[in-house]
């Protein structure tokens, strides 16, 4: 797990902890302990479970979201709910004097928290629409975070294979694929080191993303080989787009190291479209073969 976001929420974290102790101290300070025979253990397990789960949700919320308005609303809402469930749990152990205002504290925060969270979830939806837009051209109607490549943050070959299979299964044969391969990338890697190699891959993938259309999806295939899915596109149109990408990358003046001189790159590409009886494997092996025939041989 990555804990870096957790520490950026210092104030929210303090708020949650304080609220937890306020609930605890209020209950203990104002009530009398019940005798053990009066305790309903079944209720304790149920209500304790709710409190515990709410705390776990809060933890993951703080762990996964960067600071911001939506995060604030979610945390405050969930904390209110947590306070109610905590007091509810504690009154299994503690007897309050009758006509005590504490029973109000038990029932009021929960509905307020629920309302806040409902509003926050709507905001979250709006935020997600924006984020999905940012991720356009990186995914194709399906999200699977375990397929995201470590270096380029593009999806991997596995992801692309699944998407192609899906299109073939639903008999959508009107798409094209482009495969791109940077020339002499390994030589570059050996000369300038892996760190610059990774950075080059990242910058090339950004350039690819910039040069494809809103409906296209780029993935990292393997090493310095990329693959692009172009739905509703003919082979000749795909070739035009591939040439545009090649053109863009040939103008990328990549500066290795801190202040290195520009190194330029060329790339080879292949474009394929599926035939009626194709499966994913032979479509991909055809495009690989085509790409290799483009590469320089002895």
């Amino acid at each position: 797990m990555n804990f870096s976001l957790l520490f950026s929420h210092f104030r929210l974290l303090t708020f949650v902890v304080c609220l937890f102790f306020v609930g605890l101290l209020l209950s203990i300070g104002l009530g009398e302990p019940k005798s053990p025979s009066d305790i309903e253990w079944f209720d304790v397990v149920g209500e304790g479970g709710i409190t515990l789960m709410t705390l776990i949700w809060l933890f993951f919320l703080l762990l996964s979201r960067p600071p911001g308005r939506v995060t604030l609303l979610l945390v405050v809402g969930l904390s209110c709910f947590m306070l109610s469930s905590l007091i509810d749990l504690l009154d299994e152990f503690i007897q309050y004097p009758a006509t005590m205002w504490l029973s109000l504290v038990e029932s009021i925060p929960a509905p307020i928290g629920m309302c806040l969270m409902t509003w926050a979830l709507y905001q979250w939806h709006q935020e997600q629409v924006v984020l999905n837009n940012q991720l356009k051209r990186r995914e194709y109607y399906y999200r699977e975070h375990t397929h995201v490549d470590f270096v380029t943050q593009l999806n991997s070959a596995d992801y692309m294979r699944d998407r192609i299979q899906q299109l073939l299964d639903t008999r959508h044969f009107d798409f094209s694929l482009i495969m791109l391969d940077i020339d002499n990338f390994n030589a570059f890697n050996k000369e300038y080191g892996d760190e610059d190699g990774d950075r080059l891959l990242r910058e090339v993938s950004e350039l690819i993303i910039m040069n494809i259309r809103q409906t296209d999806t780029a993935c990292r295939y393997a090493g310095d080989r990329f693959i692009i899915l172009l739905p509703h596109t003919t082979n000749s149109k795909a070739r035009v787009i591939a040439k545009q990408i090649r053109n863009a990358i040939s103008h990328l003046a990549f500066k290795p190291g801190q202040q290195g001189d520009a190194v330029f790159h060329t790339l080879a590409f292949a474009a394929e479209s599926p035939k009626e009886k194709d499966n994913t494997d032979n479509l991909l092996s055809r495009i690989n073969r085509q790409l290799e025939s483009q590469k320089q041989f002895v």
């Binding site: 470590f150 390994n186 050996k190 393997a222 090493g223 080989r225 041989f297 002895v298």
Partner: protein, 332 residues
Amino acid sequence: MSLIAYRDDKLIPAPQMATVIYDLSKLRGVNEDRLLKGTGIFVSDLKRVDTKFSPDQILRLLTNYRALMPGHNSAFLLGHRLFPTLNTSLNASLIHCGSLQHAFRVLALVRQQLCPFVHGYFHKHKDKGYFLLNDAIGCGDLYHYILEIYCTAFISACKTLVGKRIPFSFAFPFSRPRHIEEYEKNLGHRLRFDEPILSINFDLRYLETELAMPSRLLQRSAKQLLSKNNDLHYSFVEYVRNLIYFHNFNLTQTAEKLNMSPATLKRRLKQHDTSFQQLQDGVNQQKAIFMLRVKSMKNEAVATQLAFNDVTNFRRAFKRWTGVTPNQLRFS
């Protein structure tokens, strides 16, 4: 007698493998304590160029590396970094060869240095050359992974030497892997899986290919330096296999040649994850399959070549090695 390297002999210089593995895992954010755990290798060892590790240590390091690296490409990534090495005379002995044929001959001499885990036999048939590859040290479960590393290193080194790509074909004895894209990208599209033996083959005309930086003098001096430093060894399993392969030695003869008792030889082989019987069967199996499959020889001829008394015995032995009869293999 030649120098023999056992799996616990510390002969592999740190920069050759261990430092490269360390660097790559750093780059991918792998925790260094977990990488080095159980290997007996310390970061301070890696900082000195003269430290050497045993194949055993490297195998344990590779086990950790394989488990900790994200993605499917850790073997291929490593393969690309293995040549050129930090040993300049080793590099020069290959880089300054005149042709690919020359380079392959030198490779046979310096292979233990470059690639202590895999060794091969070269065969020619008609217009094709074949490298039949074998486990040189007893790699166990890691063998498959090590093949990915060294096949990539081989392709990458040939590209470095020649300056262009040469179309090699690969036949692997395992089924098509899930991460086929890495094979296609790093080894090329000429791949076959579920083959009975492991081989790399190519058109013999490529042997004439000129290397990018030929120099007879530099190449010779580099080779002299290497033999002066006593850097040339055989891996133990490879050495025993060679005795069986070229001289058809039995257990007693092999033990005698190695100056040890048959019991010690057996124990030593066990330490390397194998046995004499296993090696003998492996050699015969590889030879038989090559003769049947590639040379299309008749069962009788193969049986004679392998010194079987009659075809029935050969057929029975073949069935024991491979699970199928010679005819089934030929027509599969």
